[in-house]
């Protein structure tokens, strides 16, 4: 399909078609309940088609990348002025971080609407509110302007309050107002944080290329005068937050502005996620809400919190995120453990599923929080990217499994009107299809390898290992707890010989419609378990892009800060090395015209710092620049570097940044292992590299060849790498 639809039309349609549909439904005559439900279902199906269209129709690929999603940039983005008085734009866009969530919303929306066929009272109001809810949800994920994001975030509140409060269970009013209250508290805190960001932002600090990338017209710089141009543009805020002299680093009551903003945003999003200790609204809301609303609440609404963390907290406030990583990880782990234990104690089926949601979303928080910093302050981007991939994958997988679980609970509740786990049993015999489907969905929730829940949990735990092994062990142990309550539940509900509860005669097999709702979930649970690339193909490039940006920030801003304050005796070198570290930018290929001075041997201390910045320019001219601390001596052959890089350059040119890093890493070790360079032809005699604390290896290369490689390997994009 090569029809290119205007992004403004398509994205606005996705957001506002439900609202229009709600208005239409509100005007339909009261008696036509079936028509109302059909109409709403039709609207949701149209949305699913639109989203599907976007999935298979990304923007045309630019030369140099395989598909457009590989770039990880914002696609179908557009920005239109909305409230000029405040610089608010109607700015929507899709990238790998929000598009999977949009797909999830569309899918769960259709399924939940189909599951709403059992609603008999006030159908008109139900359908109208249901459709209005989707306006908010789609908008939250697609909005890239912070004010628009906030407004649509709160649009979700009103329909949700009524959907729980009118069609809910026995304690519906209590659950509804608790939900409303908690979310509103989080929202107003977000509002304060938003205003803090807004009034400290200044678009004049960005250059033209950056403004273009943020979909901002560079001409506004000319109209500014000498007043700062404030912005709500999320991409621009992320750029401003990651600048070396970020305007958000301003002091405010002892901490930087971005620290406060991170705290405020974090509380707001963690209420939504939900993380312990602000999770208490969730069990009540989930239990009292009707089945389709529980599906949406668990499947989509909770992801809004995780999305907000990833989109707003980390890129815009990296400094605070780094400092408070421990707090976030702790909250995630506590949520995981507490949710699992609480789930084990439940006798209400739905409440058990609600607590399992708390536990699973703890994985998301853990995955996002674990900045994988090792003891030597070297930032291993790969692990953090893995963590975020895992967190996002877990969000999608949890959306599928929890929606499925709630639906299945609803199926049985509709028949026997109770949810007491001690009064079930033997459902496999009476309802075999139901039992099978339940088994798959519940195992997927448990994280059985081969089903969707495993991938996310695995990635998160692996990334957490790098951060702290204790945390990873705890995370892995939670799997045991999860297995505990899920298997126990399945045993109590599905296995056994007989059904021990009321209304045994109502246990009819699943109807075709119900099977039709459950089958897509089962299919996806299996597909995403055995072919994760289906989802990772969308997510990974954008996540990698985010992680790369933050990695650059770490190197340019944070590590100089950390190392600068640690080294007492090398202030001068710190200053010069910090200065030259910051100067080289990622995107530029600059030529640095000084050869690396051969450094005579000596025994340096471990705490010395060498900085080596290597650039590769297209014409294969290279130089390396380093600084020699006063009492340190290190001998690195310039020629070695030259040859090595020149040979490898043609291969390196086609890779993205990270691949280059890895490749050079491998190549350097390989060179060291092959001193004569038979395979590569690299001339290595005359190197004479007395490396600090060296023992003579057979190749004369410094021991710990990978250390040397890391030394060499500032990436070919021109970053500088510091090491202690």
């Amino acid at each position: 399909m090569t029809v290119v639809m205007n992004p403004f039309v398509v994205l606005s349609l996705i957001i506002f078609l439900p609202a229009v549909g709600a208005a239409v439904v509100a005007l339909l005559p009261r008696q036509s309940e079936e028509q109302m439900k059909l109409f709403s279902l039709a609207v949701m199906l149209i949305l699913l088609l639109l989203v599907g269209y976007l999935a298979i129709n990304p923007e045309p690929a630019r030369p140099g990348s395989a598909t457009a999603w590989d770039r990880g940039r914002v696609q179908h983005g557009f920005s239109v002025g909305w409230i000029e008085g405040f610089g608010i734009y109607y700015f929507l866009g899709l990238d790998g971080i929000n598009f999977p969530l949009v797909m999830l919303t569309a899918l769960i929306g259709v399924l939940a609407m189909a599951a709403s066929w059992g609603i008999r009272e006030h159908v008109r109001a139900y359908c109208a509110l249901y459709l209005l809810l989707h306006t908010g949800m789609f908008g939250v994920f697609m909005a890239l302007d912070l004010f628009l994001f906030y407004v649509l975030w709160e649009v979700v509140l009103l329909p949700m309050y009524f959907l729980i409060g009118v069609w809910g269970g026995p304690r519906k009013e209590y659950a509804a107002i608790k939900f409303f209250l908690f979310t509103l508290v989080g929202s107003v805190l977000m509002l304060v944080g938003m205003l803090m960001l807004y009034f400290n932002s200044d678009l004049r600090l960005l250059n033209e290329a950056q403004l273009q990338a943020c979909f901002i017209d560079p001409n506004i710089l000319t109209q500014a005068g000498n007043q700062p141009i404030h912005t709500f543009n999320m991409l621009a805020l992320a750029e401003l937050g990651q600048m070396p002299n970020s305007p958000f680093a301003r002091e405010l009551w002892g901490q930087s502005v971005q620290w406060w903003v991170f705290i405020l945003f974090m509380i707001g999003f963690l209420i939504k996620v939900p993380a312990v200790p602000v999770h208490t609204w969730l069990p009540d809301a989930h239990v009292e809400a009707p089945t389709p609303i529980s599906m949406i609440l668990a499947g989509v609404l909770l992801k809004m919190g995780g999305y907000g963390l990833l989109r707003l907290c980390y890129p815009v406030c990296p400094d605070a995120a780094y400092e408070l990583a421990g707090l976030v990880v702790a909250l995630g782990v506590i949520s995981m453990v507490y949710g699992a234990f609480a789930a084990m104690a439940q006798t209400d089926f739905k409440r058990l599923v609600a607590y399992s949601s708390v536990s699973h979303m703890g994985y998301v928080v853990l995955g996002l929080g674990a900045w994988s910093l090792t003891a030597e302050n070297r930032f291993i981007r790969d692990y953090w990217a893995m963590g975020i991939n895992g967190a996002m994958y877990q969000m999608i997988a949890h959306g599928i499994t929890s929606a499925g679980m709630f639906f299945l609970v609803g199926v049985i509740y509709e028949r026997v009107h109770h949810r007491n786990l001690n009064q079930f049993g033997g459902l496999f015999n009476r309802m075999p299809v139901y039992g099978t489907i339940s088994m798959i969905i519940f195992f997927a929730a448990m994280g059985l390898p081969g089903l969707c829940g495993f991938i996310g949990e695995f990635f998160v735990v692996l990334s957490a290992w790098r951060y702290s092994p204790v945390v990873a062990v705890v995370g892995a142990s939670v799997v045991i707890l999860t297995a505990g309550y899920i298997l126990w539940t399945m045993w109590r509900v599905y296995l056994g010989a007989e059904y021990r509860g009321p209304h045994p005669e109502d246990l009819s097999p699943m109807r075709r419609g119900e099977v039709a709702i459950a089958v897509p979930l089962v299919f996806l649970a299996i597909l995403l378990g055995i072919y994760p690339k289906a989802l990772l193909g969308f997510m990974s490039p954008s996540i990698r892009r985010t992680v790369e940006d933050l990695g650059v920030w770490m190197e340019r801003v944070k590590i100089p800060q950390i190392s600068g304050t640690d080294q007492a005796g090398e202030k001068a070198d710190t200053a010069s090395s910090a200065a030259s570290a910051v100067r080289v930018s990622q995107k530029e290929h600059k030529m640095v015209d000084r050869d690396l001075q051969p450094l005579t041997g000596g025994v340096p201390s471990v705490s010395q710092r060498v900085m080596c910045s290597v650039s590769i320019a297209p014409n294969e001219h290279w130089t390396a620049e380093g600084s020699k601390p006063a009492n340190e001596s290190r001998f690195i052959s310039a020629r070695l570097i030259n040859d090595f890089l020149r040979i490898r350059y043609s291969r390196l040119r086609t890779f993205g940044c990270w691949e280059q890093l890895q490749y050079q890493h491998l190549s350097a070790t390989w060179i060291c292992g092959n001193f004569t360079g038979q395979k590569s032809g690299a001339k290595t005699e005359g190197m004479g590299i007395p490396y600090p604390g060296s023992r003579q290896s057979h190749c004369g290369c410094p021991p710990g060849g990978d250390e040397f490689a890391n030394l060499l390997v500032a990436t070919s994009c021109g970053n500088s790498l510091q090491r202690r």
């Binding site: 649509l152 975030w153 509002l191 304060v192 205003l195 009034f199």
Partner: protein, 568 residues
């Protein structure tokens, strides 16, 4: 200049400048006279008062929204009134309210035949006073306008003669109002005596220029000045229902009819806030020192030299620089307004929680919103020195909030009135299950109350957001925290009303006694739709508010120092 020339000049000024600029008020006066004549000549005309009022309101609104024919700012009646963008905006708002009010009272049926003429005469007279308040340029006009706006309200509150609560409300209102008016007058006399003038711009310039000198001569002047300012603000705080002068509000609102509540909560708050803005910004950002009347209108050129006491302050810098006296005044006002706003907001929202009567709840909600309205004034005053542009945005946010507040509050009181008509009760619990019988009313009521709470994407949130933005810009973080906290606090009582209307089942008490007329439903819908529309398209309105704000933040530099012809 002799007497003949003086009279000539005054007449010319009257005919060419003052009367054309005063046309809205003149129309109101004509309507009052027409009402009295209609009552006298055609007493049996059942919808006579309503019709005449509506016609007058339409004319007044037309005159108010018509572009002004005088260059702005214009000084009317020798400088006691000023017509600038700000006054025009506020007066248009008041005229719009009058129009909606006339329609509202016609539909809701109060006042009845017996007291309709009195009711409308009183409300038009009060509105006339409010129009004077928003364009006041002289302290005497401030008092005059305040009194004209308040006194008819005392009588309107006691309109329902057969109810004891009404009489009690009227008495409380009158006693309270009289007391605060007296205090305000005393405060004005103190300041006027110290500064030697009661013409507001002159007072402001003299305060900025001569305060060090005055303090040097009489060290007690600082205390006297602060006392005078506080007393002056007492009158305004009374009108705004600001703590600690809010005691009259719940009783008056509960005792009076809902229509009167609508009038008091919307129109008098608008006028009071406009006056507060004007006065505080005038004293904290006084007119510029340069008295070269470059584009002076005919008024300035014809000002007789012997009677004009143009002040040439000697130590003023231009409007962007701040003499230390102004700085001190600014800090004083910021502190005062901050405390006032914080207390008012918190008290209103806290006390509203336990209310059972819908009108009393709305009274406390009005107090809470008055607190929100005072906050941007504090922000504007804080910003008016260093960054007038940002102060302009703060004032604009207050003006924008007033528009949204008009619709929200009028809608809430209209709901109360219609519920009273259908259910014969004003208790919240009697609205239980309203959505079953009157779905449109319940849905509109839900939207109105959510807008009062400040929930996106309704207009109430946009208005609150602009206020919060002003606070954040002025870095009044404590006030912002209090405002945010109060938004959450207000959730409880607004949501309770909504919950009762929509979630609670219908009880025996809440069965409707009468049907609601189509006109009522249409009116409610017409009031609710702007809350949704302005929630999305509020840019133009905000820009208009900014234009109005620019008149009062960077006051008329070229016309500074012009005093009244009377030479006070």
């Amino acid at each position: 200049m002799n007497l003949d020339q003086l009279i000539d000049q005054n007449l010319r000024d009257l005919v060419t400048v003052s009367l054309p600029g005063f046309r809205v008020e003149l129309i109101l006066c004509a309507t009052i006279v027409a009402l009295l004549f209609v009552r006298m000549l055609v007493p049996r005309w059942s919808w006579g008062p309503q019709g005449v009022t509506l016609a007058g309101a339409v004319l007044a609104a037309w005159a108010a929204f018509w572009p002004p024919i005088l260059p702005e700012p214009a000084f009317l009646f020798g400088g006691v009134l000023v017509q600038d963008d700000f006054a025009v905006y506020c007066r248009a708002l008041l005229a719009l309210f009058l129009l909606l009010f006339a329609v509202f009272t016609w539909i809701s049926g109060i006042p009845g035949l017996g007291s309709a003429t009195e009711f409308y005469v009183l409300s038009l007279a009060a509105l006339l006073g409010m129009c004077l308040m928003v364009s006041a340029n002289h302290a005497v006009i401030v008092v005059l306008g305040l009194e004209m706006a308040s006194v008819p309200g005392y009588a309107m509150a006691g309109l329902l003669k057969h109810r004891r609560e009404s009489s009690e409300a009227a008495l409380k209102f009158a006693v309270f109002g009289a007391g605060t008016a007296g205090i305000m007058l005393y405060g004005i006399s103190l300041i006027g005596g110290l500064l030697g003038s009661v013409h507001l711009p002159t007072m402001a310039s003299r305060l900025a220029a001569d305060l060090p000198q005055i303090l040097a001569e009489q060290p007690a002047a600082a205390a006297v000045m602060s006392l005078g300012a506080l007393m002056f603000l007492v009158g305004l705080a009374f009108k705004l229902s600001a703590v600690p002068f809010q005691f009259w509000t719940p009783d008056v609102f509960e005792g009076a009819a809902a229509e009167v509540g609508a009038f008091l909560s919307v129109a008098s708050k608008t006028a009071a806030l406009a006056l507060l803005l004007r006065v505080t910004l005038l004293f904290t950002a006084p007119p510029s020192a340069t008295v070269q009347a470059v584009d002076a209108p005919a008024v300035a050129a014809s000002a007789p030299a012997v009677f004009s006491t143009i002040s040439t302050p000697n130590s003023l810098t231009d409007s962007l620089g701040t003499p230390p006296a102004t700085e001190a005044v600014r800090n004083f006002f910021v502190a005062l307004l901050t405390v006032l706003a914080a207390l008012t907001c918190t008290f209103g929202n806290w006390a509203a929680y336990g209310q059972q009567n819908l009108k009393r709840l709305m009274a406390y909600s009005t107090i809470g919103h008055a607190g929100y309205l005072i906050m941007p004034v504090a922000a504007a005053v804080a910003l008016s020195g260093p960054t007038p542009e940002a102060a302009k945005a703060a004032v604009a946010s207050a003006l924008f909030y007033l528009v949204i507040y008009l619709f929200m509050n009028l809608g809430a009181f209209a709901l109360t009135a219609f519920v009273r008509n259908t259910l014969s009760s004003e208790q919240i619990d009697s609205c239980a299950g309203l959505i079953r019988y009157q779905p449109l009313v319940a849905v509109c009521g839900t939207i109105i109350f959510f807008s009062l709470l400040g929930l996106p994407p309704l207009a109430g949130f946009m208005a609150k957001f602009s206020i919060f933005a002003a606070l954040a810009r002025a870095e009044l973080w404590g006030l912002l925290a209090i405002a945010v906290f109060n938004t959450v606090l207000s959730l409880f009582y607004y949501l309770r009303v909504i919950k009762v209307m929509t979630l609670d089942p219908v009880t025996a008490d809440s069965l409707p006694r009468q049907n609601l007329s189509n006109g009522a439903k249409l009116f409610l819908l017409a009031i609710t739709v702007p809350l949704i529309v302005f929630g999305i398209w509020w840019n133009e309105l905000f820009l208009i508010a900014e234009k109005a704000a620019s008149a009062v933040v960077l006051p008329w530099g070229a016309y500074s120092g012009l005093t009244t012809r009377i030479g006070l």
